[in-house]
Symmetry: D2
């Protein structure tokens, strides 16, 4: 029998995988006490059964888990049902009616198709020579996005997934859990104009290394979320938040295959995810 | 500017993606009331905030979620920490000590590396001409596995992920939620011998369309789980359960790129997942 | 110093307590796997931290809990907000508007005042010589209630809390968890006419030893709940369910002080409770 | 028929109740966002079903709840299983062994008998002329307790439940949720010596208006908990925390019947409670 690894492979995708790939993990570990918005149920984990609690007749033992959480905690994706404006969801549906029954049947997390698409990392602080990252409250403008795109030579195409690095992700593991959330300090990010710029490029989804894909002004908190409105309500572009982009940026990888498979939580407004940036070694 | 879709792509993986891919979704939707083992906390979802509950000054409104669940519900992967035998985990660590602190630091779900690997579907009922599926309680033997591998001409290689279809997945949506779990009827699946056969091929992970990767005899329930012991404890092979394999089988796709990114739930014994089978259209 | 136990006590209540009281526990233990309606999130408990997980510098260690549950599981009380009819709550408020914001501010569980009131046990099977209990699906009629009241010589007064024993509570610990819930068999209980009879006596609250204060016909499940409508929506009478009445009945105690303090769960539709029947030993 | 309210009542307790009672609610409302220790799963509530979601054939509709929480949140009682010292629980049992199986069978919350007992409020700030309350970090000493007992003329007896008011409860509703918890500021309370003094009086349970029945020094947090050790581990005295004592104190009620019925959460280390102080109007 010819060893399978030498067999000719008709599928070009599988052939590329066979040649070796580098996988960058863009998801944050979910752990009790991690920084998150107080607007959402906190992530908690416990082991109802541990090894040693109950041993089967054959010497076997199984441990298991109990989890409680919101869906907008940790690295996660927003379903289109997450935000409405003046009572309307993306596509115009009545937002109150859409939630009748306690789940969003039409635009819930279960309707997000798995993504296997070209991904682009816009490493804004690197292109702008902003050191470790953009300052708190800094608004990443269309000019910043265009300059980064050009500096990297990674033109954004329709259907792409664009990840905007602000550098704020370095605070995710800060001892003071409130620093990353930044409700008082503010957080850098794309504002309304940048969201329009991205949507005008026809992107399928956008991501950021911050808790919200927004520019949060110091002290303003989450009072208004214009980028969410533009992307989720007006343009139907998914948002991925609290991504881990440092390793990818350090490796200088600006273009890749992004694979993302949200949990199909029926009727939910979002899902925790572990997005992958994959590069063929070919 | 040259349109990105025409740009030459050095990355063979991305080039293959650019040529188009077919994505098969192997994850079941997570919904309240779906069949699951009573040994694990049931999946529940609720919307603490719906649209219309609170409207921001600019007309915006956000809805959000509250989830509670075990990690071995819906389509999920078992971490190596899930099962122990005679007090030992894979690698020999003391299973009780390993769980000290309420999380499995060494072999928990967060230690499962994302997978981008060759996947093989062993469509047993098709190869064995077993109609819609193997009967309740049927043990899929090494001979069955080898016959299926041969009939399909899909030799299993080291590092592959092998998905064994029994056909039982057609009951996932049965009106009687107890049918799929099959505690009284029994459930078809791979037994100890088949698990050894798979591990001997050097597979990285295995999957099934049943709630447990086991042959469950009628009335025996989950009293002993020999395939789990072989795979998780003795051989370090991950197990994926409650997969949706019907669409893939119907399409006759037996070889593909499998992408799986478990949630990095720190210290947990498993994670819900949405595995993807991806095929390049090349 | 005069020993406190001999001190004269001005408060007649405390004086009675000092003379000794018998306390009957009318609440069921809450444990994982107990029978409950599938319409509500199941009760689950886990220990995130156990002794030995983390020991403080002084040798101390604390264990703690994680709970998830509905509020209509175990022994519980229904807030008036639990049920509406034709879109109206008790008092006429619009039921949809009342829940805006994800909590019932006006008629939620937090609005149930603690109860220290005369309680009456109507031991129907005993008065009707129905052996261990009324048969499945049996409707306890106004005549049954009146006959029991008379046989016991416990006239019901305005403001009382009346507990109606059907005998069905003996199935709470049945090995088959579905027996107590009785969705297919039916469950005995007070129907619409009996609910009117009780409300006409001006009772403050009613209780039962069944999962619902209703007569459930075989196979009908919880499709319509007329006693709930009469009591909660039309008359403002609280309902206590899944009570443990066997010990009280066995002791032949038909009149007592009932103390009930629902958890003030802000905006919830009910609360788990542990009602007490207290009798002075005089 | 003689109206029940005029009927002679043989039960002195019920007779006292019939004469009228004043009920003081010593439990805090449970609401999302209330102050609590970060060591415990936060209280969260959601309505999976609201009125209007699903209307039955007869026009009826039921709303229901989903709760997740620790047991040491809101007003709660500590079971004896909550704390161990040098690996031993109250009575000497091995603390690790006692939790085998994920529940404390012997000393869990379900083993706390309902309480109908004499209660004494020691209003320390009033007796000590400490204005609104004891200062942050102040240790309430045995002398303080004795002075308060004497000033009030409420000698403490064996079997009593003694509630120690520090005045700190006025911060429970403070806009800054961290003030009540006081991890940095410190919190006033009974220390080791006071705990011994109380236990030496043979009390059955003690309570406080703070998140922990301890004197917390500024910045020390919950690093060591000597009063817990004395009471729970050495003396078998229950602890009630986060009580609402302001109304009772304002009314000048120092002696009463205390009724407390913890939820019988099988195997848990504590339970939320709504304790009542009841006074006969006699």
């Amino acid at each position: 029998m010819i060893p399978p690894t030498n067999a000719p492979v008709a599928d070009p995708l599988l052939a590329a995988v066979r040649c070796g790939v580098s996988v960058y993990d863009l998801g944050r570990p979910l752990s009790v006490g991690m920084p998150q918005s107080p607007n959402h149920p906190a992530y908690w984990h416990s082991l109802p059964r541990r090894h040693g609690d109950m041993v089967r007749s054959d010497g076997g033992s199984a441990a298991n888990d109990m989890i409680t959480m919101g869906t907008h905690v940790g690295t996660h994706i927003d379903a289109l049902a997450h935000v409405s404006h003046h009572g309307r969801l993306y596509g115009g549906a009545d937002a109150v009616e859409a939630g009748r029954g306690g789940r969003y049947v039409e635009l819930g997390a279960h309707t997000i198709a798995p993504m296997v698409r070209r991904g682009v990392l816009l490493d804004v602080p690197r292109a702008l020579s902003a050191g470790e990252g953009c300052p708190a409250g800094y608004e990443i403008t269309p000019d910043d996005l265009a300059a980064t795109e050009a500096a990297q030579d990674t033109p954004i195409g329709a259907g792409d997934i664009v990840l905007v690095r602000s550098g704020w992700g370095r605070f995710f593991d800060h001892a003071d859990r409130t620093v990353y959330v930044g409700l008082t300090s503010g957080v850098p990010g794309v504002g309304e104009a940048g969201a329009v710029w991205l949507a005008d490029h026809g992107v399928h989804a956008v991501g950021a290394d911050t808790i919200a894909f927004e520019c949060l002004r110091p002290g303003a908190g989450h009072s208004v979320l214009p980028a969410h409105r533009v992307l989720l309500v007006e343009r139907g572009v998914y948002i991925i938040e609290a991504m881990a982009l440092e390793e990818l940026a350090a490796a200088g990888v600006h273009e890749f295959t992004l694979v993302l498979a949200p949990l199909p939580l029926f009727g939910a407004t979002g899902s925790p995810v572990r997005p992958l940036a994959v590069v063929g070694n070919g």
